[in-house]
């Protein structure tokens, strides 16, 4: 839920994050403009595959430039920032989960993922962590596979596969 009451800090200089954002959007816009020309803006039959992206790339570059002008004239209020610990913990654990899911199977990889978030990050008790992790991994696997007919991945390792993981 976004806060509707918190007043961010005001500033007199353009925030580095804002400059990075403007730079990134400009770079994407320029890339799209160049790629679109390569795709072809117009063909003998009419508009080519590059026409619409070209227009959007143009909008992105123009708006980024306008945003920079606005920021230079009147820098926007600084946001509250982010909790890097949360971003790293959640982001990295998700990347690891996605990397090993096909290898270890949904049940084992999700069990370890949930255990990390419940026990190590969340500080829950071993009993509650184990119960929830089991329900969320093995329980969800069977509920989706047999209840909803939606197949979740099984392990690519034969020994794990043989024991139903």
């Amino acid at each position: 839920m976004e806060s509707v009451v918190t007043k961010p800090r005001s500033t007199s200089r353009v925030a580095p994050s804002v400059l990075t954002g403007i730079g990134a959007f400009t770079a994407v816009g320029v890339y799209v403009l160049v790629s679109s020309v390569g795709l072809g803006l117009w063909t003998s039959l009419g508009p080519g595959p590059g026409l619409f992206p070209f227009a959007m790339g143009g909008v992105l570059v123009a708006m980024s430039a306008l945003w920079l002008v606005q920021e230079l004239r009147r820098p926007s209020e600084r946001s509250e920032g982010i909790d890097r610990g949360v971003v790293i913990a959640v982001g990295v654990s998700l990347v690891v989960l996605a990397s090993v899911m096909d290898l270890l199977g949904f049940q084992l990889s999700m069990f370890l993922f949930l255990l990390y978030h419940l026990k190590l990050r969340g500080g829950r008790t071993w009993v509650s962590s184990l119960i929830i992790a089991l329900a969320g991994s093995v329980g969800a696997f069977y509920a989706f596979n047999y209840g909803l007919n939606v197949a979740l991945p099984v392990s690519a390792f034969a020994p794990l596969n043989l024991i139903g993981l």
Binding site: M1, S17, F52, V59, W67, Q70, G91, P153
Partner: protein
Amino acid sequence: MDTLTELLGGFAAAMTWQNLIFAFLGCLLGTIIGVLPGVGPVAGVALLIPLTLNLDPTGSIIMLCAIFYGTQYGGTITSVLLNTPGEASSAITTIDGYAMTKLGRAGAALTLAAVGSFVGGTIATIGLVAAAKPLGELGLLVGPPEFFALMVVGISLLVALAGKSMVKALISGALGLLISMVGIDPVAGAPRFTFGMDRLLDGVSFVAVIVGVFGLSEILSYRKNAETPLVHAPGMRSLLPTRAEWRRSAPAMARGTGVGFGLGLIPGMTGSVSSLLSYAAEKKFSRFRHQLGKGAVEGVAGPETANNAHANAALIPLFTLGIPASPTIAVLMGAFLQQGLTPGPSLFTEHSDIAWAIIASLFIGNLLLLLLNVPLVGLWTSILRVPTPILTALILLFMVIGAYTINFSVFDVFVMIGFGLLGLALRNLDIPLAPMVLTLVLGPLMERSLRESLEISQGDFSVFVNRPISAVLIGLGVLIICSPLLKFRKPKALTEDPEA
């Protein structure tokens, strides 16, 4: 066949036991999403699309619609009991809702909010029934240039109304359109922005993007040590409002219905704007306006009626013209398309039985929510007692399953993670997310209608101004986008809209 006969046919289809179960489950899940602060209706509906993948189109859309309006009911509970809105559209309810809780009238506030939601939702659905045929027939006259112009107006309105800066809203809209263009070009068949990856030839998974941008980015922006709130559910006896409270609420509900229904039809208006303006209407017209802010029933009944009338009225442009009026409706539209149904006038000619079954289910869903919401308030509040780490872990579990099961590929989980980080960056830069989701859904349709129009006119752009309907709509779109140059002032309710 006349409208009534078709509606009755729709009721017959919606009242099969399978579809009733889907509506019930949708209401239940929607209420839970509404109660949970942090999971908004956009991510909530996208997250649960995988649950409906193997259902038939009717059951699937019935369930997702029920989830959608269930969130509107659920958002009220935390506003009243905790002074924390479960959904942005219930933010204004905290003022008088929480004041009523402090006065020991929490039960009455929740009952009046639920009844108001039922009234607003039901009347807006009657509006949908009345408008479906005439607007649908009008929609059939629309050709590619008019359809393109209509989408230009819809997107312009959303861009103009989203957030505080038009520049940032346009960036968000352009990003959404660019993401929608990844994959094989629909006309010439050329791959675009695929970076040589075969997996991107079919485009970027819509569900993975929405779950990432709206859901994961919300979790990534959580702060540590969020405390589990202490909440007490009101007893059954206190749920019944007094006769005076009923009498005072009735005019507020009528005004709320009018405000919500009218604004729900306009693309870009969010439920928050409806509830804010409904509160403003109570401040102006209520006989008891001096009590507003101190626990007046009008401050709960009006806004809560308005946001539900808004939610159901917003389905009218979707069903009749194929234009989503809000980000959540855009996600619903994505679900329609995934089931092979194209919302708009052709829905009533090609899949009339499904369209009417869904409309009938809206009436049933509203009734189910009224029956579920108030008596089960104890159950809903118990969800709030679940510690944050457990909730976060379970939400992440559903996100991973949701992203994976769209194409049964971990690639989409990576897509979700990437877009989660992008969503976090956009939030941090104060760039509104709503235009992005709308253009993401409308992008392919918009491009196709643009290119079809230009093929009809053999490349002559004047096709958009030579046809009267399209000329008026394009003119309107340009006027909306240029409104900052004309120094039009945005109403306060829009600049403070937390949903934008």
